[in-house]
Symmetry: none
Subunit: 210 residues, 2 copies
DNA sequence: TTATACACCTGAAGT
DNA sequence: TACTTCAGGTGTATA
């Protein structure tokens, strides 16, 4: 069985065919029979080595600030709604990613004022449990090159290099596949406070669904 | 150098003069050049011998319930706003106290449903560290007799009697001085839960600043 | 009851 | 020094 494979420079191409069977569950998960995209069609965003807290009982993943602000700008909605200041509304969204099997994972993504940090919360612990992630394991994020609404999440075990070609097992390298609804504002009237504005944005195509 | 001095029955009077220089810092602390109030102007409220948890990593001081409800009634704001039920708003406040040097200490004060207890949380650990408080040391609270919005916090080392007159050192007896903003509601829309209602209130003059 | 979610908080480390 | 980041926590609410 062949496996997809993580490459930071996208030189590896696997031939996958796509055949999606989606069914929504109570946890808003979506499953597909796995078929895959060429790695060339995916752009690497960033990766993070998981801390004990990231895989422990805190049920959250801290997204390093520079990556969060570059790739998942939370206040983009404010820009789009012509409310450029950071007063006091619209924050917290759902981000959907497809994993290596084509399964969709939807996470709440928000900014915590108190710690000045960006986090994935709701849904994250299910991902950790499903993949049996441990401290030191790595998660990485990608997006589709031609449809930036499509986000992918992959993971690999600690000690597994990011650029090696390996056979498919449950423990080697896993990349996400399949596009999904990706950028949802979840509470137009929630009282999350705003993250700090930052002028540098990536070309990530923000897509809001209300 | 003379020192202020704690007395539970206020029979001791020291002549202090008042001269306040306030400047706000990032941590919302206020410092003053120390000059003092007559002890006669201060009313003792209560004191507590600190437990290991009070000075440890839990970063909180448990206020004995009977004292908390008598002197620092949390739900007074609900009464004043005619919202008598305990639905889901207005709770958690900031209490400001002046210490023996005139420095202002602002603590978050709230009720913990899980332990049915009243606690000082945010800011408390800084006070413990600054005063180098250890288990068995005593903290005590006072308020100004004619301006009940003014709260004072003092402390003494364990084994130091509360009614002895001692010379001023860092380790003997320390009483607070100088009034300060004292009773702040911090989040009108915060989601702290309400403490249980209790019908007996002191005559403590609640003062809210928004 | 237990697990999850949520916003808040602190200390340590880096800059 | 002051400031930022973030790992590791908290209490509370909800299911």
């Amino acid at each position: 069985m062949s496996v997809n494979h993580y490459s930071t420079d996208h030189h590896h191409t696997l031939l996958w065919q796509q055949q999606q069977h989606r069914h929504t569950t109570d946890t808003s998960e979506t499953t597909t029979t796995a078929t895959w995209l060429h790695d060339d069609l995916k752009e690497s965003l960033f990766e993070k080595s998981l801390t004990p807290s990231d895989v422990g009982k805190l049920n959250r993943l801290v997204i390093p600030k520079q990556h969060a602000e570059k790739y998942f700008p939370l206040n983009a909605v404010l820009v789009s709604s012509a409310a450029a200041d950071t007063s006091s509304s619209e924050k917290g969204m759902l981000l959907s990613f497809e994993d290596e099997s084509g399964k969709s994972w939807r996470f709440r993504y928000s900014y915590w004022n108190s710690s000045q940090s960006y986090v994935l919360t709701k849904g994250w612990s299910r991902f950790v449990k499903d993949k049996q992630l441990d401290p030191g394991d790595v998660v990485f994020f990608q997006r589709h090159r031609s449809d930036s609404r499509r986000l992918f999440i992959g993971w690999r075990r600690r000690g597994q290099g990011s650029s090696s070609s390996v056979a498919a097992t449950n423990s080697a390298v896993n990349t996400s596949s399949m596009g999904a609804l990706s950028y949802h504002q979840i509470h137009a009237t929630s009282n999350y406070s705003n993250p700090p504005s930052h002028s540098e944005y990536s070309h990530y195509g923000i897509y809001f669904s209300f």
